[in-house]
Symmetry: D2
Subunit: 332 residues, 4 copies
């Protein structure tokens, strides 16, 4: 149950109410909010007198539910807003990994020329083998910051584990929580304490319920700026790297109030169909795309097969714009 | 390996060549064609002198491969051609099951008013429980034939098992092989002997390789009129009925020469997202959509949750047309 | 709901009751039985006076449910009974495919020397490629019959599709319905009309609910001699051919009244772990094992990687006997 | 490639060799070891003169591979050794979560009376909902330490994220890395620096390749004390919580040199079949079992459905002993 306390309730009174109801407490900018487990279906009498409104919920998808807020929340990626009434479908693009200043500058220059406003690049790579390239770490974050300063991008970068979450929060505009890290309480709790935008990727073995519940960790910590990112789930089919779950996206659009960004690059794992899949994603009316693009994919240190060449990305941008228009959206 | 024999080779000589190479033999309208297992990589000397051209293949996806025919084949659904250079995306629609003359006539009248040219309806329902509605059988096929006669539709109907495959071949214009029947040699071989169009649905536990190999049974029997239909695979996610595999569709478009029709209704299993998913499918540039629509879904005898109301279908049609246009296709 | 009619009710009266309740009707040897859909929870008044006992059921797993018969049914494989109070774990073994008289005779002689009583061999192979060995067909069945006559085996052989189901029923003692055919109404209905034992393999994409419902088709046709066979499901893991679902077996043992046979050969797809997996299966206390063994796997025409050499099978038999004993069962 | 340097090579010379070959470096107690990516198939000339032996490897499963050490490593759980030539199958048992001193003491007393030597209990619970019980944290670890002091158990407890990995390393004898945390570099690297035993659970969406590669992070950091734990993967089947992958266990036994512990409790998710599954696991000849047992499961704060009652656990122990004996193992 979500409980909105009366606006004039003091912090200490709110904390007392939280203790009495074993709730999570945060302030939403207007009032204190308590969230209990979803099994609570009747307003606890202990908090009746301090309560303004309350929302019994069917599952532990609570703050993210359309039953609570019957609209898509507006969230910012740098200076660009998505969700809400914006009609924006943002394209976030860049290389899988930041590999060197030269490489990321080439990417940045190209993205600038394409009018892309948000640059992505991984610095702490969640590789499954210790013998692969592990990313440039903090040095990579500094390179991304430099690109922001020079070109005016907002920066999207991934946190791999809790040991460096503060570094990513400091340097990035959007903290990306990767598919392998999205259950990580250390990361989720740190992201709950900032007000920077958090993009949570669905784990490849993660149910929709668990996916949205990960967002609840951030939302119930008081950070409302959460974006969901579907990037493919693991199925029996191995001709493609993963299986992009657009049925799941339909479910998320119907049941949750968070903006949705899709990542066709990781889903397919090959360059050949990224344009077609991007058109499909945009036609769903979603809020953004995450596309991997590399100045020279043939020498990329990670995900070489799926990163687009610059001319392929240019073609993709050109191809998705009329689709966005056809569904009442604009690419930004 | 696919081997085109010289055009003037006699049937008996071709049969001899097939025996000598343990090949499957058929006539493609121009010449006799032998197909061996794909492990054969060098032209068998026994057939060298009767051979015109030959194609070593990498897997048992042979006749359906883009390595053999580097284009999408043109196939007819009634009077409408899809694939090839047609640019057509056909909408095949109708109820899950034919339930009564009244019901199918209501469907037919509505579809006619929507300018739909191809009516679907199941008569032999592959239900997983013996205690559910099993379909009207041959009586249903006769009702569909009646609708064709009255309204001019082409008819798409499903064969459930080999015991009635001849009945479906007789009454339908397109023989649909369902997800649960697509490994059925009895059905595949009967469909190989006709020249009617065969629409093969991917089993929900079927790999892309196996899916296209099912088409090989029909193609290698001499029937080139095969359409592939993706309708969702079974994954760990159960909030939606199945998971529509658009990464798989990207793979099929890249590697096979068969037209592709998508079925978002069975994939999602719920009405709410069918329109969004249909837009996504159309944006992929595919050749057709299969949509379940019922005059009154609330009383439908099967798949009640996923069949659209008439007004929802009308809205869907309106919504997909600009998407088709945006990707250079027209809805038909 | 399952309804036992009074024992003295006539056939025509029973048929009337079936019509009035839209039930399936069969005679169980003692009385007529009606089975309605499981949504019927109260005894229909129309049949109250002819009813002896009735069983409201929670799902369309009805006749196979422990809520109906709270025990494992006893079923015969040739002269050997399994299930019930027998304590038997039968080993059914033989090659994947019958390839020639010489090959099957070698198998038969070896199996005889191992005291195996039930010989398996496929004649109609449900291959996914038209360009692979498709089995000897009816000729294979005749060879198996010959082995039965010479050596006294019971014969287990697979039906692939409805076109030859009568042939398999005629020649085999146990009709095996394969993983790719288990939804086939044509096969299931034919098997419902015989009283021969039917072994139904779970499809690799089939839920436990659907699997047991396939058995309901046979049971509700009046044939109580049904065995369930788990043989591995398709998951994201591809280092092994399939994933043997022993959690599913625990569920089947808890909820259904049918004997259970396990097939580790198809699950793993490789020789190396078949012995270990067989020990695991036997330790579950199941009713039988299906093991693929070939006189010379290196030249086998199908499933070459998973068929055991004769000495490996001998070692397996020796290894599973003490395990069976440890769980109160005997290998037969 | 794994490269053993000559035993008399100095640390600084070894570090130079590591830099020259972009290798990971550790000392295995005998000599310095370099590990490069597996694409390196020929000994780099730069290190030829300092190399004693080298092992080209087929994949990034290197230190854990049977191609490197053709035996199962011996690893200690407190005073009990498993793997190697020990023939031990250890039973690690205890509640899902440490809930209170009273509860964990009841568990400890019971486990002592059953001669269990290793007590498990979770303190940092990786819950998917923020609104569920999150564990006692450090207080729970202190309670477990108290039980060790009083009863002499070795303690197995789980680390959830990198923020408290040092606490778990300090208090537990075996650091359990949970299914949701096994890609966590922060945890894996911290575990690589200790010499305490690390039990890595396979993620429910994790391939065998990735699973063993997680062990490579620990092994290549110089900690050889790693145990693999299979606990069920996520499949389309939802009647059971997960699907225990014993085919995968057969693969691990064949290809890796690490001891294997199985967790049937999490796999099945229900009490009813834990005994049967435990018998199956033991019959595979594995090195240990992890079983959830609670003094009163009906009031458990997590995983209530799958934790055994004390009498059920006693029955389980009694049942698995003869199975262990039948496969040449002893339960400890």
């Amino acid at each position: 149950m979500i409980i909105h306390l009366k606006e004039d309730i003091s912090k200490s009174r709110a904390e007392q109410a939280a203790r009495e109801t074993q709730s999570i407490l945060f302030h939403n900018g207007m009032c204190y909010v308590l969230v209990t487990g979803s099994s609570v279906q009747e307003l606890p009498s202990a908090v009746a007198e301090v309560t303004d409104r309350f929302f019994p919920m069917k599952s532990d998808i609570q703050l993210a539910s359309k039953s609570y807020i019957n609209d898509t929340r507006e969230v910012k990626i740098g200076s660009v807003a998505i969700g809400g009434g914006t009609g924006n479908t943002i394209v976030i693009a860049g290389p899988c990994s930041v590999e060197s200043e030269e490489q990321i500058r080439q990417s940045a220059q190209f993205m600038k020329s394409m009018n892309i406003t948000s640059l992505r690049g991984g610095c702490f790579k969640p590789r499954t083998s210790p013998y692969s390239f592990q990313g440039l770490g903090i040095e990579g974050l500094q390179l991304l910051s430099k690109m922001r300063d020079e070109f005016g991008f907002s920066i999207v970068s991934e946190v791999r584990d809790a040991t460096h979450v503060e570094d990513v929060i400091e340097h990035a505009d959007v903290i990306q929580i990767g598919a392998k890290s999205m259950y990580d309480h250390g990361i989720l709790k740190a992201c709950a304490k900032t007000d920077k935008t958090v993009l949570i990727k669905r784990g490849f073995g993660t149910t929709l319920q668990e996916f949205v519940q990960a967002a609840e960790f951030v939302l119930s910590g008081g950070n409302p700026n959460v974006i969901l990112c579907e990037r493919g789930i693991r199925t029996f089919e191995t001709k493609t790297r993963f299986t992009l779950d657009l049925c799941g996206v339909a479910w998320l659009k119907e049941h949750t109030n968070l903006p949705i960004v899709l990542d066709p690059s990781h889903a397919l794992g090959y360059r050949y169909g990224i344009e077609d899949l991007s058109k499909a994603c945009v036609a769903m009316g979603i809020d953004g795309l995450l596309i991997e693009v590399h100045p020279d994919p043939s020498v990329a240190k990670s995900d070489a097969a799926q990163q687009l060449y610059h001319d392929q990305f240019e073609a993709l941008l050109k191809a998705i714009k009329p689709v966005a228009q056809a569904v009442g959206k604009q690419i930004i």
